[in-house]
Amino acid sequence: MQFFFEVLIGGLLSGVMYSLVALGFVLIYKASGVFNFAQGSMVFFAALTFVGLTEHGLNFWLALPATLVVMIVLGIVIERAVLRPLVNQPQITLFMATIGLSFLIEGVAQLVWGASVRGLDLGVQDEPLQWISDTAGINVSKFDLMAAGVAAMLVTTLAVFFNRTRIGRALRAVADDHQAALAVGIPLQQIWAIVWAVAGGVALVAGLLWGARNGVQFALTFVALKALPVLILGGFDSIPGAIVGGLIIGASEKLAEVYLGPYVGGGIEGWFPYVLALLFLLVRPEGLFGEKIIRRI
């Protein structure tokens, strides 16, 4: 039973990491209806930029805002150069544009900073927390706990930002209805630029945590693929959905790998989340918290 809980908690905590990536997708989808496939590349780009800057002698607290600025500029540039000319195109076209964008970002990142694998140390080791191991006999990684804490902080910040600030309210209005938002005088394009900038910031957080865990390397772009089942499980346009979906996917993936994997030959974490999300969608086609679409003629 202890083992079960250990796996479960480990899964939940790694699910938080998935949620972090999924959050970036949700923010952009909510505000502009774009399924931004380049989010994974943005995570990679952020982590690589951060590591590159620290290698050039900047310390942590200088590199962090510098990278944040880079990500914000990147977000604004993307909005200007890619999305604005493609306004009102079908969603699939925008989706393809973001795939092209992901190639572009990956190329730029590696061109500027090189393609070698780097480590990233955030000062917290990936080792079990002594106190919990002693009292409950369950190993919980310090690093995972910190990641969960950061994620909680990020979500709280976003929640406050969305609910309490003027820009946040404008963002929600745009998410609800583009035309109505325009009609009451919300500058749509400005809002989109802000959303992309915020998504860039979220990518930075995700990039730091994922980079510290797996090393900063090209494989970091594949975390996007980990976030997609989370996204459809929770619903494309729901921030709580991204969190809850991440927890469900993380926990069930680890449990399945441990209890089901040995019977079928292992390596199932590549597809299990997708099949799980797929089965889930059969019951709720818009995900857990996704907006119900009423279809009329």
Partner: protein, 358 residues
């Protein structure tokens, strides 16, 4: 002046519903086919066959399959490479386990197996729409490849998971040279493209387009959604399956399941977007573009390197290629979101008036 339908009167319904109603189109098509079947086999070099023409045709076939599903029936799929893998491995097993089975029958069998798997993974489309469906089709992509890797029976218990396609023998003739392979692929692709074109012009195709444009409305006017959608998945997967089998037999020779990874799925999706969603011509134009672009870029790099002595480190070059590829895709989407096929359409409109503006 030359491209103009003036004076071509249609006196029967048959003539009116013909696949190429304008004489110039018929002539152009005949010329293209003649060049493809007669001129190219005698003139092209083996490199041109095996590095450019064969993959171009095979991927065009796969793009055609995806275009039926995404372009005509409106169901976005990211799992086309997995259906190609099903076709390839099923064909391999048909040839392996049924002695004396004709190769073409094995290809059809591979296509039908892919169609069956396609229907299975198409079932969720009855409830799920849009990007939810697209992500759900990724389940097919990962699950199928995992099955092919993990279940040894599919690869005949090869220790490395790699299969070697049997030699292609049809009616006692072995298709071994690049020329012969090219002609075989070309013949299959031509027949299937014709079939696709006719399917999309018929009742089935109109049903698909109705479903694409608005499925609720289509249902109201009496189209059976389930049949139309699942048929689209089946036909699309059949095309992908045959393309996958050809990919293994005529192009790669030795294949592992990883050859049909997500990258290939994306490449096929790029082809239909760049070529033009919902056109048969677009599948070919897109495939040509996506196949030629990397070759063109690497040639450009070697050209710079050798003639201008402007050497680029190979890591830089590969990143530059990646960037240019991504950038060009964005550029094309911005300049012509409806794809190359639309450019051709516009060119035809212009040609009708050329050289007189009125």
């Amino acid at each position: 002046m030359f491209y103009r339908e003036a004076g071509q009167f249609k006196t029967t319904y048959q003539a009116d519903a013909a696949i190429f109603p304008i004489r110039q189109d018929r002539i152009a098509m005949a010329v293209i086919l003649a060049v493809a079947f007669v001129v190219i086999p005698f003139t092209a070099s083996p490199y041109l066959f095996s590095a450019i023409l064969i993959p171009f045709l095979i991927l065009a076939l796969a793009a055609l399959g995806l275009n039926i599903l995404t372009g005509y029936a409106g169901q976005l799929s990211l799992g086309s490479a997995a259906f190609m893998a099903v076709g390839a491995f099923a064909s391999y097993n048909f040839v392996l386990r049924i002695p004396g089975i004709p190769l073409l029958v094995a290809f059809v069998g591979g296509g039908l197996s892919a169609a069956a798997v396609g229907i299975l993974f198409g079932l969720p489309s009855l409830r799920i729409r849009g990007f939810y469906l697209a992500v759900a089709t990724l389940a097919a992509q990962f699950f199928i490849l995992w099955c092919l890797t993990k279940i040894g029976w599919f690869t005949n218990y090869s220790s490395s998971g790699v299969i070697t396609a049997q030699s292609m023998v049809i009616f006692g003739y072995t298709f071994a040279t690049p020329q012969a392979k090219y002609l075989l692929v070309l013949a299959i692709v031509s027949v299937m493209a014709l079939a696709a074109k006719n399917m999309t012009r018929s009742n089935v195709g109109r049903q698909w387009m109705a479903v694409r444009d608005m499925d609720v409305a289509a249902e109201v006017i009496g189209i059976r959604l389930m049949r139309a959608k699942l048929l689209a998945f089946a036909v699309s997967s059949f095309y992908c399956g045959v393309a996958g089998a050809l990919f293994a037999y005529a192009y790669l020779g030795t294949v592992e399941p990883e050859a049909y990874n997500l990258d290939l799925s994306f490449r096929i999706l790029f082809m239909i977007i760049i070529g033009g969603v919902g056109t048969v011509l677009g599948a070919f134009l897109g495939s040509a573009f996506i196949t030629l672009l990397p070759i063109f870029l690497s040639t450009a790099v070697t050209f710079l390197d050798e003639t201008l002595h402007f050497s680029i480190a190979s890591s830089v070059a590969s990143n530059l290629e990646l960037m240019i590829f991504g950038g060009l895709i964005i550029f094309f989407l911005i300049v012509e979101p409806h794809g190359l096929a639309r450019l051709w359409q516009i060119a035809k409109e212009k040609l009708r008036l050329w050289p007189f503006p009125h």
